[in-house]
Symmetry: C2
Subunit: 100 residues, 2 copies
């Protein structure tokens, strides 16, 4: 569990981004990451089981939206804002505005 696979930003495909954004649970995660900057998985479960959250974080990671790094015993997640802004200018900002 040492390291996670994150796609290189240039390999991120728009359809994967949109798929990742098509679930209400994941939109909630995105919203809260945008508001709080960074958060552990456990901090964002809404009483949902760990395995469910793990699944959603993985979808977000694989899509290229979220970066996860181990920090002690927890895993900190944050949006890949700068990279995404370079790859898809304006997209993340418009998404965040849309789901605010």
């Amino acid at each position: 569990m040492r390291s996670y696979k994150h796609p290189a930003i240039e390999d991120v495909r728009p359809e994967d981004i949109f798929h990742a954004l098509s679930d209400p649970v994941r939109l909630d995660i995105i919203r809260r990451l945008a508001a709080e900057g960074a958060a552990s998985c456990a901090a964002l479960d809404g009483g949902r089981p760990k395995s469910s959250m793990s699944h959603h974080f993985r979808v977000l990671r694989d899509a290229g939206l979220v970066h996860t790094r181990p920090e002690g015993v927890t895993h900190m997640n944050q949006l890949r804002r700068d990279e995404l802004a370079t790859r898809f200018p304006g997209l993340l900002d418009a998404v965040l505005a849309a789901i605010a």
Copy 2:
């Protein structure tokens, strides 16, 4: 077939938009509608069966992305650009730039 149900723009939900955008076939439709302004369903099938295309156009309509109106024997589709720009400022432009 006289009239289609299009959601009122204020009822359009971001997650439905993103789901509609999560399929390569539909992204292709969006791309071509953006480039050509308006097009019939048949004009955009890539050799796919009519029933498949009909399904995808329905998803796009239900999501609020596309407006369809009967025009003689064909059905003209176009992006709901202005409405979407009001409801979700910057979103459609960023999406079109991302999938260009």
